[in-house]
């Protein structure tokens, strides 16, 4: 969105008037963060929830006003979070189907390799998703989606102080996780050779 030649406000206004190209620009600027956020919090449901989120976004676009792309991103992520929570509640009412493996969350060994080698976006998001959900969400919103503390607090329904604490704990845990995996990899490799 920052590269948008028309500027965010003009693009948003055009999209509100029904300009499909402008809406596509908004979508392309926001969808990666949306998908990754939903990947962190909702796992394999991320694409379905992203689709529901965009339906809501389209319906509410006419009444939305913002001056900065981050505000639009925060709004979209807020809608996504509501959709995710609704989905959580709906799934809780349905009988749960137990599966043997949950591939969406990834496994630690694979993540360690990915972190130390060429880390892909998918692998990085999966690594963040390994954190406790509350920490993963706040870390993602603060450091991946680039929302400030106030926006993150508003989105998650927490206080500003709580967001700071949770973000700190999340980063600390992420660092610990990476260190453990790195050490594990370092220790395993000489034995294997």
């Amino acid at each position: 969105m920052d590269e948008d030649p028309l500027g965010f406000v003009a693009t948003l206004d055009a999209a509100k008037r029904g300009d499909e190209a402008a809406f596509a620009r908004l979508f392309r600027a926001t969808q990666p963060a949306l998908l990754r956020y939903l990947r962190v919090v909702a796992g394999s449901r991320c694409e379905d929830l992203a689709g529901d989120t965009w339906v809501q976004v389209v319906r509410g676009l006419g009444g939305f006003t913002a001056e900065e792309p981050a505000a639009f991103r925060g709004w979209v992520l807020t809608i996504a979070r509501h959709r995710w929570l609704d989905d959580q509640r709906a799934r809780a009412r349905r009988p749960e189907i137990v599966v043997d493996a949950v591939p969406d969350r990834g496994d630690g060994g694979g993540m360690a390799d990915a972190t130390l080698d060429l880390l892909t976006t998918e692998a990085a998001v999966a690594l963040i998703a390994q954190l406790p959900r509350e920490q993963a969400e706040v870390v993602f919103l603060r450091y991946v989606a680039d929302l400030d503390v106030a926006e993150t607090a508003e989105l998650t329904g927490k206080t500003v102080g709580s967001v700071r604490v949770v973000a700190h704990r999340g980063l600390k845990r992420l660092r610990t996780l990476l260190s453990q995996q790195h050490n594990l990899r370092q220790g395993v490799t000489p034995e294997a050779t």
Partner: protein
């Protein structure tokens, strides 16, 4: 204490190369085909295009209403103008109906000449005194008591057709019911001779008949009886 030091601690973690690498990878730009773009655009179209469709439909309805109004106006104006000129078909049929005010009590028989069914719509415009005189003459002949039966019919035929009738030519059955054609001097009077098939009490017939089933009579002259088989014609 300067308050919360969480940001400083966060900065400490963020400066860690592994954490920084993970976060940088997580926020890397996405490649071109983003999943869900088509669905999102479809949702966008669904929300925004009905408004356009409604607008165009409203415009189309307005055009239709305008066209209907113009058509109605033209019909009304032309109707009024035509009525003012007096060439409305309704007027014609109305006068025609008046000429049929007295319905016939005549029933046609198969003996009658049913030659000009298609001319039934031609109204008679002749009610001249000549015709009346002729009717009186025919009536007088018909009421002549010295001659009876077939001979009276022949006489009436002769008088009515101004000598053209040949009642004795051919057989009796052919003579019976033969009628003189309206001839050259019908002047718009009945072109068919239906009186010969009826027991009409009207001396002159004019107007039209319908399929020979009924004769429309106009009481323009005296009545005559016994004109069985003969049709008075206008001279």
């Amino acid at each position: 204490m300067n308050g919360w030091t969480g940001d400083m601690n966060d900065r400490m973690h963020l400066d860690d190369p592994m954490v920084a690498a993970v976060l940088a990878a997580a926020k890397a730009p996405a490649e071109a085909p983003l999943p869900g773009e088509a669905a999102a655009l479809a949702a966008f179209r669904e929300v925004h295009q009905p408004a356009r469709r409604k607008r165009s439909m409203r415009a189309r309805e307005n055009v239709k209403l305008l066209a209907a109004a113009v058509f109605g106006g033209v019909v009304m104006v032309s109707g009024v103008a035509t009525a003012a000129v007096g060439h409305v078909p309704l007027v014609h049929s109305n006068s025609h109906a008046n000429s049929h005010a007295t319905t016939s009590h005549q029933k046609s028989t198969d003996d009658g000449n049913d030659t000009t069914d298609d001319n039934t719509t031609q109204p008679s415009t002749t009610s001249s005194t000549d015709s009346n005189a002729h009717g009186v003459q025919v009536s007088g002949t018909a009421h002549e008591t010295s001659v009876t039966g077939r001979n009276r019919g022949a006489d009436v035929c002769q008088v009515a057709s101004a000598g053209k009738c040949q009642p004795n030519a051919g057989t009796d059955t052919t003579a019976h019911g033969k009628s003189a054609t309206a001839g050259d001097n019908s002047q718009g009077a009945t072109k068919r001779s239906d009186a010969g098939t009826t027991n009409s009490q009207h001396a002159t017939t004019h107007g039209s008949t319908t399929k020979g089933k009924s004769a429309t009579a106009h009481t323009a002259g005296s009545t005559h009886r016994g004109t069985h088989g003969q049709a008075p014609t206008t001279p």
